[in-house]
Symmetry: C2
Subunit: 170 residues, 2 copies
Amino acid sequence: MDDGRATTTRGGENLLFLTDEQLRQGIEAMFFAYRGFTADPDRILSDMAYGRAHHRAIHFINRAPGTTVNNLLNILGVTKQSLNRVLRTLIEDGLVQSRVGTSDKRERHLFLTEDGRALEGRLSDAQRARMRTAFRDAGPEAVAGFRTVLEAMMDTEMHRTYQRLKESGA
Amino acid sequence: MDDGRATTTRGGENLLFLTDEQLRQGIEAMFFAYRGFTADPDRILSDMAYGRAHHRAIHFINRAPGTTVNNLLNILGVTKQSLNRVLRTLIEDGLVQSRVGTSDKRERHLFLTEDGRALEGRLSDAQRARMRTAFRDAGPEAVAGFRTVLEAMMDTEMHRTYQRLKESGA
DNA sequence: CAGTTTAAGTCAGCCTTGTTGACATTCCAA
DNA sequence: TTGGAATGTCAACAAGGCTGACTTAAACTG
């Protein structure tokens, strides 16, 4: 254990923003906020035979249409067996379409179908609504801080993945 | 779906901080950051017969020593059967002690043993180290924004629980 | 005091989602 | 043509959620 005190070079104000107590509060805030973050989509999904894993797959396929299975694997950080179980049900249920690659026919390119986009919309509308309210209540400066801290919290590899996705966005 | 545009009353700067693209980036940042957030304790726990659920129980028992089972249930938001499975192993392994209540003998008050505190220390050191680095790199203003947004993201009930814990801290 | 409610614990069974390991298929590239 | 890469599949398992049913003991209440 350390003494919980840390200094800032920023001239004295907020000298104690790195005490163990502050860090603990940050940890607990993360725990509770993540529950809120997933609560709305979870509620929608609990009515169907789907779970959070399906939501994640749908989100990132929508995000990067035509992505390969391997690419999705890296983004999600799970095994191919785990992802495959999820993808199989989504394909069977007609929410995702898997197309053999043109340049490399070993690869499968993944797309959402009409139905898939419809579900994606329902899920992300709910999640965005919460995020929007939180962002609006907190204000632009807080949002900037929020994202700065989150980015610093990622592993290097995740951070690269996140940046790549971010830059590929509008 | 909405048009993704939102106005801010703050005079024009950052007019677009509530576009769907910004919200999506916030959602993805949350996803990746939470993985980083849990990665270090997960690594430690994977060597033992414990998982994230044990970590959470240990964290909050350490946080509020003498808490009752029911109270812990409300904080963690799981069923008593789920929590009981975790608590039973922790008690059997001598990391947690359960004492019959004095005023109300139906209640059990939970405490970490010496060994329990030792494990708690290992786990939270790892998690705090990451949080500390992230906080230090981001700076005090970003940290304030981070916590403002996270609090706004919680459900009302969670937020109350979080506030109560926060105020009971040093 | 009798009856009800509450706190905790337990048993059984189910689901989702992660894991390993083994193995088949297809196809690119050296 | 052969090795390796990408994908898919099968089986088995574990963690950690869930529901439902039930017990015990203590506390509360009419």
